[in-house]
Symmetry: C2
Subunit: 282 residues, 2 copies
């Protein structure tokens, strides 16, 4: 998978050198790689081949990378570190970071539209592209980031927090699983079970993220600990308290695993990811 991404990001003819470097920097290197795993595990759970899901898995990773590069910009979170390394705009300058993010998003849709490489029905591919676009657009990731920025320094309620988390992270996690499942041939009842699974682990993921932001160690996370708290960002622990947040995350993962009860052993990787979501320390 890492090799697939590396190959995709080798400088193709006509791409300016600095832009190609910034695109690679945003995608490769240390990272959790969760979204690509979700696409692949979603496809496998439904009996599909991981190789057919590979372009969509790479696309999910490129989209995630683009959103991080833009979120880190001075006009937004103004972050200096990401995954333990200087953020893209600190290395390449703001203009190149913005443009690299833009190009990563475009490249993701280019990969998803590569029907020869994916090799399932064009109509299914279009459905996957459409779902991914909805998940990462104005109603999804971008909308969540807007409300997150608007909420900084304000007292906010649980509903707003859930909006931010669902949009900023949850929708994309769900879409990754669903896109994998679609490419894997999933439909009907099974696709609906996958959707509920995705909703629940998506929210659990973000709650755990919030908890880790408070208790985690700086070297584990590679970003400033407590940075969200300092900026009074919307987090679950700040609204529900730590204990209740942990319980909520745990209940969500338990419920998510039940959704997969009708899936056979090919859903093991997906189950393992859900458990990892809860157990992770960074």
């Amino acid at each position: 998978m890492e090799r697939a991404l590396r190959l995709l990001l080798e400088r193709p003819a006509g791409v300016p050198r600095e832009l190609a470097r910034a695109m690679r920097y945003g995608v490769l290197g240390p990272g959790k790689s969760l979204r690509r795993l979700l696409v692949l595990a979603g496809a496998e759970a439904c009996g599909g081949s991981a190789s057919r899901a590979l372009p969509l898995a790479c696309a999910a990773e490129l989209i995630h990378a683009y959103s991080l590069v833009h979120d880190d910009l001075p006009a937004m979170d103004d972050a200096d570190l990401r995954r333990g390394r200087p953020t893209s705009h600190r290395v390449f300058g703001e203009a190149t970071a913005i443009l690299a993010g833009d190009a990563l998003q475009t490249y993701a849709f280019q990969l998803m539209a590569d029907q020869d490489k994916i090799g399932v029905s064009p109509s299914i591919i279009l459905q996957a592209i459409h779902e991914m676009a909805v998940a990462v657009g104005a109603r999804g990731t971008v909308g969540g980031q807007v409300v997150d920025l608007e909420s900084e320094g304000k007292e906010i309620d649980e509903k707003t927090i859930e909006y931010i988390h669902t949009r900023k992270t949850g929708e994309m996690i769900k879409a990754s699983i669903r896109c994998g499942a679609l490419i894997g041939g999933c439909e009907g009842e099974k696709l609906e079970a996958m959707t509920r699974f995705g909703d629940q682990i998506g929210l659990a993921f973000q709650i755990v993220d919030d908890i880790l932001d408070i208790v985690g160690l700086e070297e584990d996370l590679g970003k400033d600990i407590g940075s969200d708290l300092e900026k009074k960002k919307a987090t679950y622990p700040s609204v529900l308290g730590m204990e209740e947040s942990r319980k909520t995350a745990s209940a969500l993962v338990e419920s998510a695993l039940k959704q997969l009860s009708s899936f056979d052993e090919r859903a093991e990787p997906l189950r393992a990811i859900a458990e990892f979501f809860l157990a992770r320390t960074n």
Copy 2:
């Protein structure tokens, strides 16, 4: 068409108000609307229906709008005016402008993937999405913008200028025409003729743009006259001189029109656009 765009940009459930406003601001209002016309005229020229090409025409406009919003940012061209109005970041702030641009790009791909609305073969739609993505990504619009920014204040040769113009504008103009043609059922020889037509008017468009930047009136263009010259930006007149630039543009349009000789009267709108490219004063 304006109505179609307006409808598409009405605030859908779950989109933050400020984000929806910034997206509308970037797309609606005064403007040349060329790209959408090219998609529609491309489809009509091939005997296709404009209504099937409408989602792609809107998508082309959203992508163009996103690229302008990002190009105007302080980290890039740092423009205060666009089409006679304050630029997006001057109205909504930098963070919202970046995110609105991001969401406009995503929304474009969402529209293009809406197979029910488009109603032609999914495989053709995927081809159109793929071509549009290539045209506006790292090898296209974004790559052109990177080299343009890198060239500021430097002496550059004709080759570099052509690279910038082809990527920044030409590829997108060609892709708009080709996507329309594909949706319109065009293939083989005719599609190739459309491609050559697109290449030639794309370049002509940018040469005329450069000329107008020098001779145009500020109120016509709605941006600072001579601004490219001041920043020593790469332009045709600065390399070829005015007279030679005019001749080149004229020859390109003439040659483009010849490419359409085997098309019937349904290609009239496309021919009219090519002539407008040469005659326009803003």
